[in-house]
């Protein structure tokens, strides 16, 4: 068996409600900006929660080759977010993919496409409600009832022929791999908010064992549409009481937390074998040294009150990294901001890191970015990588007053300078029970 290859992070692409691209995102984190406000994508006044986290405006055409613009009509919002993140990520990594060559931003490619993989987490991609309802309403009878027979004969032809392809979760990866010519191992993890961590972890393994040299990995999702917003509202997971103060609405691990705020966003990281990164003299953000995953077995809808699953994922990641809890210098929890999920997470973290949490800083982006679905973990991962690389821990919004059980030491005001040798980032699916953690190390030869 070949020795395990070292894997490093060489690029980050972020699309978050507080900023597009690494620098805008980082700057907003440092300045305590909140990306949550009244929803503009549609009229939300029928919902109890009318606030959310929408991305700043962007032009898709700025992130793809001109020849690919016609494909925009088959791209759902989730796909667009992934495509934007991919552009930022390869640019940030200095990878001259087919996209950059076709856009005239690079002379020739500097990577081998069959050795370039993709592992992009996705959610349950929502159909465009306007398109679907318009088609469905053509099969309504005079009394307003729906006729399946009318749908078969006339109604369905009102949907675009490629309608289905807009909402297949693997289309995020398909568009990204086409745009950037990534022909290597390709996967789409669909595990809710744990998707990004699982995708990054799997890509890490793929490179470590030698099946690819470079992987673009992470996740993206938009919950800023009525279908996606209806689900957490029905499940009672949304904070319905802070419509007037959106910047205070998402309060991870705070004593007075009242629920999640739905949002959109994503992140894609470039992982690369150390040898490959060295050969092209890439800037190295950090080294990935551990991955662990687990599942809740107490239920699929509600978190485990004792956080046994959270603890197991954290422990698995630490063991994989070959380090102990007291070697961790930064804790990056998920922070759903619901009572139950945060309680479960706190129990698990306290169990594994215990007193170490009293001595190290912690970081969660949730208060600023909301719940970005399958993209959540990738946004957190990017924040963790940047904090480690820049020896700076940004503030975590709305984390005070802290839950009495919490030992996390979130930065409240100005960013804190801190040398971080090792950091651990955690993600959890709110439904389904999947948990995952990643361990990063400051890069040293």
């Amino acid at each position: 068996m070949q020795a395990k290859r070292r894997v490093v992070v060489t690029g980050l692409g972020v699309a978050s409600p507080i900023g597009l691209g690494v620098e805008a995102f980082w700057d907003a984190l440092l300045r305590k900006r909140c990306g949550l406000r009244r929803i503009e994508a549609f009229d939300p006044s029928g919902f109890s929660t009318q606030i959310g986290g929408e991305l700043p405006p962007f032009q898709l055409g700025d992130h793809i080759p001109k020849t690919y613009r016609k494909s925009a009509k088959v791209m759902s919002r989730d796909i667009r977010i992934a495509v934007v993140c991919a552009y930022y990520a390869v640019k940030d990594a200095g990878l001259n993919t087919r996209c950059l060559v076709q856009r005239g931003e690079a002379e020739q490619t500097n990577l081998d496409s069959p050795r370039f993989g993709a592992n992009i987490g996705a959610g349950l991609v929502c159909t465009d409600l306007g398109e679907l309802t318009a088609a469905l309403s053509t099969a309504a009878q005079d009394d307003g009832t729906f006729s399946l027979r009318l749908w078969g004969t006339e109604g369905m032809s009102n949907l675009a022929p490629l309608w289905l392809l807009k909402s297949l979760p693997n289309m995020l990866a398909c568009h990204v791999t086409i745009v950037h010519d990534a022909q290597g191992p390709s996967n789409t993890i669909t595990c809710g908010e744990a998707s990004s961590h699982l995708a990054v972890g799997e890509a890490y393994r793929t490179i470590a064992r030698g099946d690819a040299d470079v992987c673009i990995c992470g996740g993206a999702e938009s919950k800023m549409n009525p279908l996606a917003l209806s689900r957490p509202q029905l499940l009672g997971r949304l904070n319905t009481q802070d419509n007037e103060t959106p910047e205070r609405s998402c309060r991870p691990f705070a004593q007075d937390r009242r629920g999640m705020i739905a949002a959109e966003g994503g992140g894609l990281a470039i992982l690369e074998s150390l040898d490959h990164a060295r050969a092209r003299r890439a800037r190295i953000y950090a080294e990935l040294i551990g991955f662990g995953a687990s599942s809740n077995t107490q239920g699929w809808a509600d978190p485990c009150p004792r956080g046994l699953d959270v603890a197991l994922a954290l422990r698995n990641a630490l063991n994989d990294a070959g380090i102990t809890a007291d070697q961790i210098d930064l804790a990056a929890p998920f922070g759903a901001a619901t009572q139950d999920h945060d309680a479960s997470e706190l129990a698990g973290w306290n169990d594994v890191l215990g007193g170490r949490l009293d001595d190290i800083p912690a970081l969660t982006t949730r208060g600023a970015t909301g719940n970005n679905g399958a993209g959540s973990g990738a946004i957190d991962f990017a924040a963790t990588v940047l904090a480690l690389h820049r020896s700076t821990v940004p503030p975590s919004l709305n984390t005070a007053p802290a839950d009495p059980v919490s030992r996390f030491r979130f930065v409240q005001d100005d960013p804190v300078d801190a040398r971080i040798d090792r950091a651990i980032s955690f993600g959890m699916a709110l439904s389904g029970g999947q948990r995952a953690a990643l361990v990063l190390r400051r890069f040293e030869e």
């Binding site: 068996m1 939300p44 029928g46 494909s71 993989g117 993709a118 349950l124 409600l129 306007g130 309802t133 318009a134 469905l136 309403s137 099969a139 309504a140 307003g144 009832t145 399946l148 027979r149 749908w151 078969g152 369905m156 675009a160 022929p161 309608w163 289905l164 392809l165 297949l168 979760p169 693997n170 289309m171 990866a173 398909c174 568009h175 791999t177 086409i178 990534a182 022909q183 191992p185 390709s186 996967n187 789409t188 669909t190 595990c191 799997e202 393994r205 099946d211 009525p226 995953a293 687990s294 599942s295 077995t297 107490q298 699929w300 699953d309 994989d320 439904s431 389904g432 029970g433 999947q434």
Partner: protein, 433 residues
Amino acid sequence: MERRVVITGIGWVTPLGHEIESVWRRILAGESGVAPTTLFDASTFPTRFSAEVKNFALADFLGDDAARHKRASRNTQFALAAASMAWKSARLADCMALDSTRVGVYLGGGEGPADFIPSVTAAIAGCRGPDGKMTSLDFVRWTKTALEVFDATSEMEQEPNLAGGHLAVQFNAQGPNLNTLTACAASTQAIGEAMHVIRYGDADVILSGGTHSMIHPLGITGFSRLTTLSTRNDACQTASRPFDRTRDGFVLGEGAGVLIVEELEHARWRGAPILAEIVGYGSTADAFRITDVHENGRGATASMRAALAGAELTPAHIDYISAHGTGTQENDAVETLAIRNVFGDRAKDIPVSSVKSMIGHLIAAAGAVELITCILAIRDGMAPPTINYNTADPKCDLDYVPNQSRRMTINAVLSNSFGFGGQNTTLVLRRAE
């Protein structure tokens, strides 16, 4: 030393039944599971038939435990049934010393069917003006009705990772839990990645495979709009005709296949039945077009080559190929070309069949169910047939085991699954030593 990965249990829910041996006999006999669609009124749809799972009751598999899963989606219920069958066949219930933190789940699970009646109720309410006339969508009217008629649990149960969540609870699988949804490649992908999870050492036992049902109005609509379904309504049992020149699309099926994927020494330690060894896995992207596969079969070729290389086998070792073989003009021609690219002159000597000719296309679940047929093919020395094969196509010029199953020695098998958008996956299995 590298950890070896074997299969120690199998279970499935298919359009030909829900028990391993009887379904296998029907497959070897070349029976079709295709019939007019009964799950909804498809009488005016362009395609009015499908390969449905019939007479399914979760309690037949889980007994009293079925009650806790009664709100689960059709997908999840299929997965639970297949998993309980696999768990029993692997004799895991007898293993008192099983470390549940080392038991994982890796599924290629599809999204659950949308709750159709509430969906159309909200749609019409959102589009119907006060005068009863249809207008463009009013989000506030839609929201008011949707929040009244949508059911929280059934909305949540549509999430594709929910089948994995139910399995984790039912089998106390505390280890890594993942779901992939790479369209029609998903369950082959899940099993291949599960192999790597075990090889690396992240788990010792994984419930892996896939589950999917798209036989619902919007599922059939989506495929009909793509014009990928056969419309041979007057002869539905012969509609699925992979590699035949007159093929006109695939037949949508539903079901689940779950396998117990296990580390070899772990399986030996507990005295488990060892059904086959997973030796190779390939995953590639065409990176070509959303709607068409690469015309030279570039990605499919690379996927098969990667699986063979991982298995440290050459094309000469492969005795049988379980094709993706959907029955669309494009897939079957390009898959044939890709097999030729990989196997060269030997391609015409290797039997290649598509059981989709009998059970239809199970989408995310297809690869897992097909891999189980490969295990049984090795065990019994029988290659399943491609039924409905009558007219040769010059673009499809391999030995497709037409219409009759074939007795032959099978020691190593290659199984393909390809998904929309250019996702290619391949597994290589070998007889357990």
